[in-house]
């Protein structure tokens, strides 16, 4: 694709001048050059490439709606619930901003998981993309942290007890569990101090970390290019003329914008037709309501812990479950290093592991909701 401004479609004399101004000061053309040359492989599995971008888009939605919510939210146990109620009832379109924030959070967690699994099954984590996978996994954990910390902020009964149970389980980890619990809760129990702390995590610590990691993640993708699934790669090697790719800008990007607009539409429908509920203000002295359970993205872990017997030999069942998940997470993070190169026999085993994990998570989540 020619790099002279005149050849690009839809340019006007004004944008020409702007581009030249930026170029003289920023080296604009040089910065954009890699983007102009960036291509995206085109094959029947190309649609999966959208997931990462959608997750990123939803993250920006979260940042924008989050900033708007920050204008009215008050992070103290006395006022948190009332401030969210205020946003929902008094602030113009407050209901829309808050519901979009809550729905987008859930959608983002879903697309993050889907993105991770699609990368797994399309085998895009192998050399040289190990660091991309690593930064991505840390981002996934951060996203879950966002979900956990943000859930408490409205300070309603469900959130209060979900946080209590969640941090309680964290406290079961051997050696570091208790200090970790106290660090998370800002004390022994879940109190206003916990709320303030979670607020700090949610709006400062986690966004800061996420920004750095997203930057790394995107930089790595730019550097390494988009991976092609092994089967497709083999087919193209056999018949090079069949290889198809499209320029990232504007072709793929326009399609991504379409996907983002669809996501916006979905968010709007969800926010207007199924507004996020307020619940009742948390009261630490009231007994936990029956049927307390975590949000859906933690459900599979919660259900697993419920299945494990109280004691397995000398070891506490719950402890075993927690350690099990810890080990599983560690293995997951280290997958690129465990599998070897792309066409290694071990990769088939990893794919099997991925199928099992996906099936397990789905079935446990469904079961958790069906069982009463």
């Amino acid at each position: 694709m020619a790099s002279s401004p005149e050849a690009t479609p839809a340019t006007s004399p004004h944008s020409n001048r702007l581009v030249r101004w930026l170029d003289e000061r920023f080296g604009w053309e040089q910065l954009l050059a890699p983007l102009r040359h960036k291509t995206v492989p085109v094959h029947k599995l190309s649609y999966w490439y959208f997931l990462g971008g959608i997750t990123f888009f939803l993250f920006t939605i979260q940042v924008l709606t989050g900033i708007l919510l920050l204008l009215y939210y008050r992070p103290s146990a006395n006022e948190a619930f009332e401030s969210v109620q205020y946003i929902m009832t008094q602030v113009k379109f407050g209901w829309l901003v808050r519901s979009i924030h809550s729905w987008s959070a859930n959608l983002m967690i879903f697309t993050a998981f889907a993105h991770m699994f699609s990368v797994l099954f399309l085998r895009a984590y192998t050399k040289p993309r190990e660091l991309t996978w690593l930064t991505g996994m840390v981002l996934l954990f951060l996203v879950l942290g966002f979900g956990f910390s943000g859930y408490l902020l409205p300070w309603n009964t469900l959130a209060f007890f979900a946080t209590k149970v969640g941090t309680e389980i964290t406290g079961q980890v051997p050696i570091i569990g208790k200090p970790l619990l106290i660090f998370l809760r800002g004390g022994e129990e879940v109190t206003g101090a916990t709320l303030t702390r979670f607020f700090g995590f949610h709006v400062a610590l986690l966004p800061g970390l996420a920004t750095v990691l997203i930057g790394l993640h995107l930089a790595l993708i730019q550097r390494l290019g988009i991976s092609v699934p092994p089967g497709q790669e083999a087919a193209w090697k056999a018949l090079p003329p069949n290889q198809r790719e499209m320029p990232f800008f504007p072709n793929f990007f326009v399609r991504e914008v379409m996907a983002w607009y669809i996501a916006l539409g979905v968010l709007g429908v969800l926010a207007a037709l199924y507004p996020w509920e307020l619940g009742t203000k948390a009261d630490p002295f009231v007994a936990a309501p029956a049927g307390i359970r975590p949000e859906w993205y933690f459900m599979f872990m919660f259900q697993t812990l419920k299945f494990l017997p109280a004691k397995l030999g000398p070891i506490d069942g719950e402890l075993l479950g927690i350690l099990g998940f810890g080990v599983a997470a560690l293995i997951w993070v280290l997958l690129p290093f465990l599998g070897g190169d792309r066409n290694n026999r071990r990769q088939v085993f990893i794919r099997g592991l991925g199928v099992f994990a996906l099936a397990y998570m789905l079935s446990m989540t469904v079961y958790g909701y069906m069982a009463k």
Partner: protein, 137 residues
């Protein structure tokens, strides 16, 4: 096509920006109604009278006693949750449903109520009479 794209982009931009701009304008009522509320203005209540005000999602009772002092307490009767009232003839708080009586500190003194009314703190802030929940309660 240009029209559809340009028009659509403009319309969707408006659809997104309009709510955001309206959101940024703070509403008239800045009171959250959480743990502290402006129950009345100074001079609004006559001596030896009471007023029901909204405290959170429940009614509260503000009393100006015969000595001119202000007292505030929850107005939800501890018997069957009727709304109590101030009786200027008896100088007590009374529940019309089953004749429960409370003194000016909220203590249940006669009739079916099993527990006292939760008392609130009152202080004057300029022109406002501010009622707030007791600390450490």
């Amino acid at each position: 096509m240009q029209f559809l794209l340009g028009g659509g982009l403009l319309a969707s931009a408006v659809a997104f920006l309009y709510p955001v701009l309206r959101y940024l304008v703070p509403p008239a009522a800045t009171d959250l109604g959480g743990d502290s509320v402006v129950a009345a203005k100074v001079g609004e209540l006559k001596v030896n009278s009471g007023k029901i005000f909204r405290f959170g999602s429940r009614p509260g009772l503000l009393i100006r006693t015969a000595d001119g002092e202000y007292r505030a307490m929850s107005a939800v009767c501890t018997h069957l949750q009727c709304t109590v009232q101030y009786r200027s003839d008896l100088h007590e708080v009374w529940c019309a449903c089953h004749n429960g009586m409370y003194d000016l500190n909220g203590r249940n003194i006669s009739g079916p109520p099993p527990r006292p009314l939760q008392a609130y703190d009152v202080h004057i802030n300029g022109d406002d009479i501010v009622v707030s929940r007791r600390r450490g309660a």
